[in-house]
Symmetry: C2
Subunit: 340 residues, 2 copies
């Protein structure tokens, strides 16, 4: 009987276990992190745990706190400080998501019914502020000024990155360097901080802290590139996922930048109309994807991501082999391979 | 020649110097605080210092950082930690103002042209987050976990207060206790923290830290009550100031609560229509003010403020007399007397 090897299927099979493997390795800690999250988002004002709980519950895979847990474990840490600090990382991430909602919702609300959106806006800003403050209270309880320094710097950088992103939105002449400055700040910096903290609590030498910071930074860059590419993935659309959000908002991401640089005048007229002027018609998203594919802009974006992913994995070279380390390198591949 | 004593004029004459006297006493520190503010709001992203600078420049009297400076001085502190911590307090206050703008602007934008408002919304959220993070970076530089604890708790409480305020908005049956819970959290807590920090840097005994916390808390409550009463002040309107903002938004403040409690059924129909349903017509604000005056709701609000003001001043009883202490008690009177 002939065996047909389905390359994509095989890769997926290898890839998915990477996330599961990491989850399994830090499962006990992850349960405790979730407990801290539930306890610490409590407030005498019921709307706060309601809204925060909703967002945190739907918030996905706990990727960032898992980085802290895995890094601490790889560093051989035996204590429990990683628990509350992983919760801090998730709180900061959730606060950012809530504030992003305001920024994005503002756009989407143009001309739409505003009553609910307004209420959502108000609550999102304030509950975000609350979670952000709670994160700092948790860090103060932990008592490490070093951790406080790392995460307060990360928070300031995230805000800077988001403002930079606003400034490049709808600017089709955004350079690749400007795009990388944005994603380093808004996404990768928190990945870097989350991983670095694992070495900090384990009181490992500076070289290991830097290695983990580099792992997180490069992983975060790869992660965001892939995320941005997925927003134009016909494959994702077939799976029933929404695509084209960035296109509709006129966000300038790597596939757009590469398509612009490689495109002719007529194509640039198209990009300007759709992304700068936001004058979009039926079929424009499909045409954008077709242009991207004609210039290999999506596959080359993933290649760029692979470069950063490779750097991330190499950063862990100074650590000896272990199941946790394997799960950390495997996770990088998993996040890049989800693009297929 | 007969001398006519103008009671109001005389009070104003005594009162205004209280603010000037405090400014003069901490003038040197205040200049340094402003330098820290300018330096620390800098960012490679030009929009951030532009927007933050605009808000901070127009931000008024630096009341909160002055509390830190004056408290430190009253405690005999000789160092300079109060400088950067006063800047932190102002950053947290400014971040709150920026986020309030989003919350309030969302309301005002109903049906209005949204393009500028949207841009303002996005930038306000993100620059607020940036300033908030910067405040924590400054605290980390200062290195006191105690200060970090005080200000991270204050920040979380402010957010809780703002959410509570959202929940009581348009609810004409809001109780006086709920109103006080809101203003304690959203306003008075930061006053309390600002003053307390003065004793903390001076390493004064706990009793003095508590006294200053109580001073700030009670002063902050008085301050907010007066602020809320001024929004219905015909006198303010004559001076060309905008009044009625709270009325138009359906915010339930103390003058409304007292008028509701003391009013008859017909009056409650009026309050429900204007504040719960936000169905407002020409002349409604004037009618609201007339109802308030018929129940002494405005003057009794100020009496409530005086009560908290008196408690604030008494809190400083354990400190020996000094020009700074006099300016701190004088400032309480000044803030209450501005209602006239």
């Amino acid at each position: 009987m002939a065996v047909v090897i389905d390359f994509k299927g095989q890769r997926r099979e290898n890839a998915i276990p990477a996330l599961d493997r990491m989850s399994a390795l830090v499962a006990e800690d992850l349960v405790k992190v979730n407990q801290v999250i539930v306890n610490k988002m409590d407030s005498p004002v019921p709307l706060i745990p309601q809204l925060a709980g909703h967002i945190i519950a739907s918030g996905g895979k706990r990727l960032r706190p898992m980085l802290t847990l895995a890094a601490a474990k790889m560093c051989g840490y035996q204590g429990d400080r990683q628990i509350s600090l992983a919760a801090c990382v998730e709180f900061i991430h959730t606060a950012t998501l809530l504030h992003d909602d305001v920024v994005d919702a503002s756009d989407l609300r143009r001309g739409a019914d505003s009553a609910n959106a307004v209420w959502g806006n108000q609550a999102s800003v304030l509950v975000g502020d609350f979670l952000f403050s709670r994160a700092f209270q948790l860090m103060v309880q932990d008592g490490s000024l070093n951790v406080l320094r790392i995460l307060s710097e990360a928070s300031a950088t995230i805000a800077e990155g988001e403002v930079m992103q606003l400034l490049t939105a709808n600017d089709t002449e955004t350079q690749e360097a400007a795009y990388f400055a944005v994603i380093r700040a808004k996404t990768a910096k928190l990945f870097a901080a989350a991983a670095e903290i694992g070495a900090v609590v384990a009181e490992r030498p500076e070289s290991e802290q830097e290695a983990l910071e580099s792992y997180g930074m490069n992983f975060g860059i790869a992660f965001q590139i892939v995320d941005d590419a997925l927003d134009y993935s016909a494959e994702q659309a077939k799976l029933g996922k929404t695509i084209g959000d960035d296109f509709r908002e006129g966000k300038i991401t790597l596939p757009v930048i590469l398509s612009w640089l490689r495109g002719d005048d007529a194509e640039r007229v198209f990009w300007r109309r759709t992304l700068a002027d936001l004058e979009q018609e039926d079929g424009d998203l499909e045409h954008a994807i077709a242009l991207m594919n004609s210039h290999s802009a999506l596959s080359d974006s993933i290649e760029r991501a692979r470069h950063y992913g490779a750097t991330a994995k190499d950063s862990l070279g100074i650590f000896s082999e272990s199941p946790v380390k394997q799960s950390m390198t495997g996770l990088v591949d998993f996040c890049i391979d989800r693009a297929y």
